[in-house]
Symmetry: C2
């Protein structure tokens, strides 16, 4: 309550000082900008009569090396910062508004691929020009208010007193108005693969320890620091989502919850030197986004993240294709096969180690014959491509050593015949997907990148799955720091030069940059299906992902598991997939991606070709998407229209309580009759009871039909094709 009073006072003070106000196009969202008594930029966001973001400060703390510090060679003698340094480090107070500009914007644009073939970008804008007299510096803040939320960013004009600077911390505040329910994962500089927690804001600290599980690389960010996108729900029914857009040449943002002020404050990922960003003006920060909706489905329908990114910078995009694929992968993830070729080696020296003199372990997945089986399967079932992991030398000691020269990305194992496979795939009309696990040695990857992409071009690989497992080299760097974010984009641009599409695993969570570089067709950046083999994902996992991970862009979740008890075929694996088979089908609709894998081994599909038909039918590019029903952590029901075809696909994923839907098909073309094929959980099926039980039914439907009592069991779902 104390906070609420404080907010009102703040607001009054701000308004007194000459506040600026804009409204969203539909008038529901309102933004007030002001300068507080200390000269700190301050904003407030309201939705109707509800406050979404209470008065919140904006600004930066800069890192300023004291010139005197350099002469401190008396070790262990701290040097106090001078008054001048303290003043220069402050990019937060002492500001005055010099001028403001307001404008409106409304355009409709077409993405190369996406959930919709046409996206409206409609906002009112407030650009505030600020001057900080005590340092003779200027800084602008640009606010864009859409019907579905707010984006704002900092802009640093070219100027004499702020040309190069180092960020100690960005201090963008998001003051909450209540003890909201939040769906969050622990802040971490090196992993995004934690389980989502569902707690009140006040419970973040006490749940943090449980929220952090061991990972191959991890650096927890703090006891109340969480990742974005952060989904919240207020007690009076508003849905609020905090994330960022266009994180380019900048560190990825976390949010630190300040319990005293019931407020989130930005917390950037540091680089190896502990700094949070090196900025050269003129420049802009990423956009900070606050998506707001009265319905949970409003969050899913928001296009703010894409709209705040720059239009496509690639002149020719004809080579970019949404892709459905199978791959030699799940067998290694489950432990039934290996990436490595031999068990003889505990230390590989590329170019020195002679694999032809080692004993094959007999479980190496990426062998020519096996790969050709996958090519056959892909060709027979209309898949675009085949991914093969573990094809190249180096997998015997690739992990956990921060090994610098860990892979060369061009030398296959003796049993993987690049030429034979490439020619065979080509003869079958199937594309091969390259795999570049970097073991997080980006130094090494960049040294080999040009040759690796040349190799792909030579052998006809048109896309690559890259991976960043383990601690980063350069030593001390973090997966989501400014240098690493620059690395990922460097690869994307280089790949575009080679007409290569990229699906980067373990890279920074996306922030909509795929609009600008649509060859960035995928990311992992969260717990994917692989965790079903490492003990399992929480049952509600896929009902949260679209509200959190997917806000920034598509995820290569790799659904499609048909055999849930992994121990039945992968010896020694005790994991059971926490999903029904029908839900596995539904995920192709509920988890949008232009890149969709049918992740299970092909033998499992061959046993259930009737259910597999849905995966064969479902496209991965869409004209239109409708979010029919949703509640984070409980259920999501999504309908999408195939791009360029009058076909609809519906998916439902449900958590522990299951879900029952009645779906009005009024989105179908009136007067036309379709055949709906419904893939549903068998009666009584749940993730922990007969999870592979499914029933397929068909019926004729029109735009006047309603599909009634569609039941998803616990951890279940349903999938529907309407043609």
């Amino acid at each position: 309550m104390k906070k609420a009073v404080f907010c009102v006072v703040m607001l009054a003070a701000a308004l007194t000082a000459g506040a600026q106000k804009i409204s969203s196009p539909n008038g529901k969202l309102n933004l007030i900008f002001s300068i507080d008594k200390g000269g700190c930029p301050t904003y407030t966001l309201t939705y109707g009569d509800k406050t979404v973001v209470a008065p919140s400060h904006l600004g930066y703390q800069l890192k300023m090396d004291d010139p005197n510090k350099k002469t401190d060679f008396e070790w262990n003698t701290p040097v106090a910062a001078s008054d001048e340094i303290v003043r220069k480090a402050d990019l937060m107070t002492g500001f005055a508004t010099t001028s403001v500009e307001t404008s409106s914007f409304d355009e409709t644009w077409s993405p190369v691929w996406g959930e919709e073939s046409s996206i409206r970008n409609h906002y009112n804008e407030l650009l505030v020009h600020l001057n900080q007299a005590k340092n003779d510096r200027s800084m602008d803040i640009r606010f864009r208010l859409f019907d579905d939320g707010l984006g704002f960013r900092y802009e640093f004009p070219d100027q004499k007193n702020l040309t190069y600077f180092t960020i100690k911390e960005e201090k963008s505040e998001f003051a909450m108005t209540g003890n909201h329910t939040a769906w969050w994962i622990a802040g971490d500089y090196d992993t995004q693969e934690y389980e989502w927690q569902t707690t009140r804001l006040s419970e973040i600290r006490e749940n943090m320890k449980n929220a952090i599980a061991p990972n191959s690389s991890q650096t927890p960010a703090g006891p109340t620091t969480v990742q974005t996108s952060l989904q919240m729900k207020t007690d009076d029914g508003l849905y609020i989502n905090l994330h960022e857009a266009a994180c380019i040449n900048y560190a990825t943002m976390h949010l630190t919850y300040d319990e005293t002020n019931n407020s989130f404050v930005s917390h950037l990922t540091p680089d190896a030197a502990g700094d949070k960003g090196h900025i050269q003006t003129p420049s802009t920060s990423p956009w900070r986004t606050v998506i707001v909706g009265e319905q949970a489905t409003d969050i899913l329908a928001s296009r703010i993240t894409l709209n705040l990114n720059e239009p496509c910078k690639l002149e020719d995009t004809s080579w970019i294709h949404p892709t459905k694929y199978v791959g030699v992968w799940w067998e290694m993830i489950t432990g039934a096969g290996t990436w490595s070729y031999t068990d003889d080696l505990n230390s590989v020296q590329l170019g020195v180690t002679d694999y032809t003199k080692t004993k094959p372990n007999g479980k190496h997945g990426a062998n020519t014959k096996h790969v050709k089986d996958y090519i056959d399967f892909a060709a027979e079932n209309g898949f675009d491509a085949v991914l093969v992991e573990g094809w190249n030398e180096g997998w015997e000691d690739w992990f956990g050593h921060q090994k610098d020269y860990v892979f060369d990305f061009v030398t296959p194992y003796p049993d993987f015949d690049v030429k034979e496979i490439s020619e065979y795939a080509k003869s079958k009309g199937v594309k091969m997907i390259m795999h570049h696990e970097t073991s997080s040695s980006t130094t090494n990857y960049e040294r080999h990148l040009e040759d690796a992409y040349d190799f792909m071009n030579k052998w006809g690989y048109t896309s690559v799955k890259s991976g960043y497992v383990g601690d980063i080299v350069p030593y001390g760097e973090h997966h989501y720091s400014q240098p690493l974010n620059n690395h990922y984009l460097y690869c994307i641009k280089k790949a575009a030069d080679h007409k290569i599409m990229v699906n980067a695993h373990e890279a920074t969570r996306p922030t909509g940059i795929c609009r600008t570089y649509p060859n960035w067709i995928g990311n992992e950046s969260a717990r994917g299906t692989e965790y079903e083999s490492f003990g399992g994902n929480p049952v509600n996992h896929t009902t949260i992902l679209p509200f959190t991970r997917s806000i920034g862009g598509p995820m290569d979740y790799t659904p499609g598991i048909f055999v849930m008890d992994l121990g039945t075929w992968a010896e020694g694996n005790t994991s059971k997939v926490r999903s029904t088979l029908a839900r596995q089908l539904a995920l192709y609709v509920t988890l949008y991606s232009p890149l969709q894998m049918a992740a299970d081994i092909i033998e499992h599909y061959q046993e259930k070709m009737d259910a597999f038909q849905f995966i064969k039918d479902v496209p991965c590019d869409w004209d239109k998407s409708l979010y029919l029903e949703a509640e984070p952590g409980q259920y999501i029901v999504t309908a999408r229209k195939a791009k360029g075809a009058d076909e609809w696909f519906i998916g439902c994923t449900a958590a522990e309580c299951g879900h029952t839907s009645n779906i009005n098909l009024d989105f179908l073309t009136p007067g036309k009759t379709y055949t709906a094929t419904i893939y549903a959980d068998a009666k009584g099926t749940a993730w922990d009871n007969n999870p592979e039980g499914y029933v397929i039914t068909t019926k004729k439907v029109t735009s006047k039909s309603t599909l009634k009592k569609l039941v998803a069991g616990a951890g279940g779902g349903f999938a529907i094709s309407i043609k």
Copy 2:
């Protein structure tokens, strides 16, 4: 005294435990290896009846992440290492000798270029195989004892329990036997450009603060930590030099002086994460060298550093040439000209900034006309090449910002016509030397390296001067860490692929790797002539460099300054070169390098063509080198025979006390008469009195002649050509 007693006891204990002993080929140096009571490898080095290195320990502390540490997400709660981790981190005690091997080696080899055309590599070797039972690990130590000193290194065989490890610190000890006089510079992870200090060992700490002056990048290593090569002199007349050889895939070593034990202990340069090295077995450490001589000249004549490096790995070396050059450089160093093209910009964006729309500052050195004047001068005077700095876009904001994309290495300023200059140089038979200042952004340099070298190949540049000024990007890295040392060698190898010679400034001090990769024709790695324009080098500087900096390999010192009062032509520069003109000539002989610059502006040479004749005559490749007289910090007199010609050149550099020589020419071919041309300080000339005064005399000489009373003034010298 206590120490001395301790040493004797240790020695006795060691011998009791079964010590190993080898002698140098001439029997004067003796090495004793033993395991002390705690199982620590221990060595002692004696010269005749004098102890050079008292019993000293060898080994490592490893960094071991406690598996439990990963679960410490209670921030600020330190986790105590388990007993197991403490044990595993110990690669220093608990060793037993499993077997020893002794051998002898004697070969003579020819370097591609050098101080001698033929080098003898003659040593007795002791290889000790050690086992550490408590961790079931093995480690070998290989000692090579030459007549002029010791080299030893650690070797890690391929083994199960020591495959990958991280070095916390190497603990190689060098226990001294007295309070020696030492010539040292302050240990630092980012600069080698400090002034040499001459103190007793006991005085290191009290002199450290004065030993550290501000530098463009610096990270002092500790209050008693110094750099190698470290030159010492004992009170009983021995000269001892500590350095390293073949520092490959390893951090550069400093030495921390332990006052309690009168001992130096190795201190490696950390990487950005604070670690000192990532090792994959099988592997070897660099060699640690102890050069020993009764005369100071013995140190200069030692070839230990080269002999401990691997033979040349380049199959074709026909494209590697010793090079004498002039360049557009000194005018910028002195402030008379600029690297930058315009004064309009304080923030450059490569590819965006349009230089043709900026106003030239009128002082840009690298303009086509000016460069052609240098090409003319080089051609007329028999120089091989012309260096031009500041030719490429980006110099307006290149320094001090850790700017990532700071140069692209292929885009010239508008007034530098690459094509015209290349064609003109070719028509005159002169090579152009490329300049790649990286601003220490090695990430950026590696991204552009292939294109930059291709550009050089295209335009006929056969060598490059690279620079690493400022703090390193990747952030937090250090100039001499393992990743940076790997970067430098990566560039050398890539350059060799392009048949390019490299002269790397601000890179790690050399350790003889030029034997293996002779396209590494030079380094700076110490205060060069440029400091004469920044206030001046100490008068004794060039009498110390050959004992310290040059032990590892050639230095691009850039001598040949003819006008000592810089303010007479470079407006506002108050520096005076602390040398006579005659000494500037002598440096071409006393400071060996296959790459020698005539560093002054050509107008200054044109005024004194008689003195310039020596620079024209002196070669930079030799059949033989004789170190006639030397005392560190006082004087050096060197005679060298030109490669493939019966011509000798003699140089003397002297410090504050000057030096008078009588030189017996018995090294000349008997029965042959030569003309000696002597370039000497004019009477009364000293660095601070008429420094440009010189006298040139000629006389006929034979192998029976003695040149008498050759006088070098304070900070003076003489240079002699004998043809």
